[in-house]
């Protein structure tokens, strides 16, 4: 949407948010104030905002990557969870210097997420099955599988909650800001965004992916294999989301448990759209949504506004942004 209609739309969303706050019996000014203070009010708050930004960045890049190839990856949440699960299992199973352990753990996460994405990709490539339905189903299946594993067979001995064993400290992601939860994962995410931007703009692979998304009939005639593209795109998209899950496990929680993600994979859809599917703009969008995520907790604690109003407004934002036509392979989604 144009700058002007974008501004009007943002204003409408703000008004609706204010209205929701009022309905909750809170003062909207206090609500917004608590949100902003909670997100940006100090070094600790800012670091927490950046933690949320990082957590959103990976799945958002994943969603955008698939979207550019003409695929709806609504399954970033499930891919993130499976990636985190793989990372948690691998990470807890051995001790080694960080320089070795961390890449292994992150790769495990990418592999887990990639496999999860590949299931949907294969259903689409081989059978033409809708990746929308596939990824939605896989989200739920991922949560169920994770639940089962962490309560049952993979439950960490001697721990009360449903989680796997903790990672050895040497395998934790180094902190970027000492004393905070902010780790080098942020740098990894930024590098990934820059890398994807290059891939889309300059490489043959990115060109073919975009062609498959923007004009599938023309792409096919130009020699691009649409089925293979679907499989590769969903796998890579899942891998990126899985990598995000691994950074949450190795950087924030230091173990895998079912509370890994408060829905990052779904908010990522909004972030990807607000960022116009462009990796660099997604970084900015992730920061904006990171503010919402970290601030919403303060908003709830201090101004007594239920944090779910943020999810509500994010949903509304997605509906508003759906007016942007995403060309190419959509159609029936079947």
């Amino acid at each position: 949407m144009s700058g002007r209609s974008g501004a009007i739309f943002a204003a409408i969303l703000l008004a609706i948010a204010a209205g929701a706050m009022a309905i909750a019996g809170a003062n909207p000014i206090a609500g917004f104030g608590a949100l902003l203070h909670g997100a940006l009010g100090g070094e600790r708050q800012l670091s927490e905002t950046l933690v949320q930004t990082t957590a959103l960045l990976f799945p958002s890049l994943a969603v955008a990557f698939a979207f550019r190839a003409g695929l709806f990856n609504i399954g970033a949440e499930g891919q993130l969870i499976v990636g985190g699960l793989f990372a948690g299992l691998v990470g807890a199973s051995f001790v080694a210097p960080g320089i070795v352990a961390i890449p292994v753990i992150l790769i495990a996460g990418a592999v887990g997420g990639g496999l999860w994405g590949a299931v949907a990709g294969a259903l689409r490539a081989r059978f033409g099955g809708s990746e929308v339905i596939a990824t939605l189903m896989l989200n739920i299946i991922a949560a169920l599988v994770a639940n089962y594993l962490v309560v049952g067979p993979l439950h960490a001995a001697g721990v009360a909650g449903p989680e796997t064993s903790a990672l050895p400290v040497s395998s934790w992601l180094p902190a970027l800001l000492p004393g905070t939860r902010l780790t080098i994962a942020l740098l990894l995410g930024l590098a990934l965004a820059a890398g994807l931007s290059f891939v889309f703009a300059r490489t043959v692979f990115g060109y073919e992916l975009r062609a498959a998304g923007d004009a599938p009939a023309a792409a096919e005639r130009a020699g691009i294999d649409l089925r293979r593209t679907a499989l590769v795109a969903m796998t890579l998209s899942g891998a990126i989301a899985g990598l995000g899950g691994a950074t949450l496990v190795a950087g924030v929680l230091h173990r895998f448990n079912v509370a890994l993600s408060p829905g990052y994979g779904f908010i990522a859809i909004a972030v990807a759209l607000v960022g116009g599917l462009d990796p660099l703009r997604i970084v900015l969008a992730a920061f904006a949504f990171g503010i919402l995520q970290s601030g919403s907790l303060s908003m709830q604690a201090l101004a007594h506004v239920p944090k779910d109003v943020v999810a509500f407004v994010e949903g509304l934002a997605i509906v508003g942004l759906s007016a942007r036509r995403f060309a190419g392979a959509r159609g029936s989604g079947h």
């Binding site: 929701a20 309905i23 909750a24 019996g25 709806f72 609504i74 299931v119 259903l123 081989r126 059978f127 033409g128 099955g129 809708s130 929308v132 339905i133 596939a134 939605l136 189903m137 896989l138 989200n139 739920i140 299946i141 169920l144 599988v145 639940n147 089962y148 049952g152 779904f266 859809i269 909004a270 759209l273 239920p306 779910d308 109003v309 943020v310 999810a311 509500f312 407004v313 994010e314 949903g315 509304l316 934002a317 997605i318 509906v319 508003g320 942004l321 759906s322 007016a323 942007r324 036509r325 995403f326 959509r330 159609g331 029936s332 989604g333 079947h334």
Partner: protein, 286 residues
């Protein structure tokens, strides 16, 4: 024998919200609107029904509220799709998120505490039975309506070629919006069944992806009301199976995953490649 009757009954109870949602999906998609906000419709319906029953003490008022809430949510999709030519899948995803956030917010605001509502006046076992019968009756009525009435002909034409409908002097956009209102009402009714029929409260996330299983049922059922209903009953049986198999010691999560795995299997087209309505999900821009 009693066990079998019990199993059948449980099947229908588990299937009923799926039937309503699947019928909603059929109506919308046959008209050309790919409605993945069925989940949101179920959520909105389930929550509104409990909220209004809580406020008024009347489950019937809750029923009406649930129907209206579902219609409103899916109607938004219809308007967005016809007036603004949005990407229907993206808009549907947004509506689902909106419904999830909005109802979680609503629980806190209306009931004072997050997570779940207290128990409210519900429809009881009798009401549950009436709704199940209504679901099956609606399946038959919609099958008849789509195939044999002028309304059905026009709706089907909209889903195949809205230009042809325009040429015939009708307004395909209006027909599509009405279809989403009807579909939303059905989805809302499915939600009412969940919260006021099967239970007597609303808890966060109680819809648990049923709206998406319903989409799979639509495909399985080849976009016909009776077919989708049969598929929904099949999914309901899988859910009911959980309880049987759980007693046999099979882990509950893996059992709970059965319907979703079945939906994945549906995508392989083992049921045969039926074709979606030609204009399903395609924005109509005259």
């Amino acid at each position: 024998m009693g066990d079998i009757a019990g199993f059948l009954q449980l099947t229908l109870v588990k299937a009923a919200p799926l039937i309503f949602a699947a019928l909603a999906g059929v109506v919308c998609e046959r008209a050309g609107i790919l409605n993945i906000a069925l989940e949101g419709g179920l959520t909105a319906g389930a929550f509104s029904a409990v909220a209004v029953s809580y406020a008024t003490g009347s489950p019937i008022a809750g029923l009406v509220a649930g129907i209206l809430a579902g219609a409103l949510l899916c109607g938004l999709l219809g308007v967005a799709a016809t007036r603004f030519n949005v990407d229907q899948i993206v808009a549907g995803t947004g509506l689902n998120l909106l419904a999830a956030g909005g109802t979680a917010f609503g629980i806190d605001v209306v009931f004072g505490a997050p997570g779940a509502s207290p128990e409210v006046h519900a429809l009881g076992t009798q009401g549950e039975g009436v709704l199940i019968a209504a679901a099956l009756a609606l399946a038959l009525a919609l099958q008849f309506g789509l195939e044999r009435t002028p309304w059905g002909l026009r709706l089907r034409a909209c889903g195949e070629n809205p230009r042809a409908v325009l040429s015939a002097g009708l307004d395909p956009r209006r027909i599509r919006v009405y279809a989403t209102l009807l579909g939303g009402a059905l989805a809302g009714l499915g939600g009412v069944f969940l919260s006021l029929g099967e239970l007597d409260l609303y808890s966060d996330g109680m819809t648990a992806g049923r709206g998406f299983i319903a989409l799979a049922a639509v495909i399985f059922g080849r976009w016909t009301p009776l077919g989708a209903t049969a598929a929904a009953i099949g999914f309901g049986a899988l859910s009911a199976l959980q309880f049987v198999l759980q007693r046999a010691g099979v882990p509950s999560e893996l059992m709970q995953a059965l319907p979703y795995l079945a939906a994945l299997a549906a995508l392989t087209g083992i049921v045969g490649r039926a074709r979606a309505p030609k204009a399903d999900g395609v924005p109509f821009d005259p």
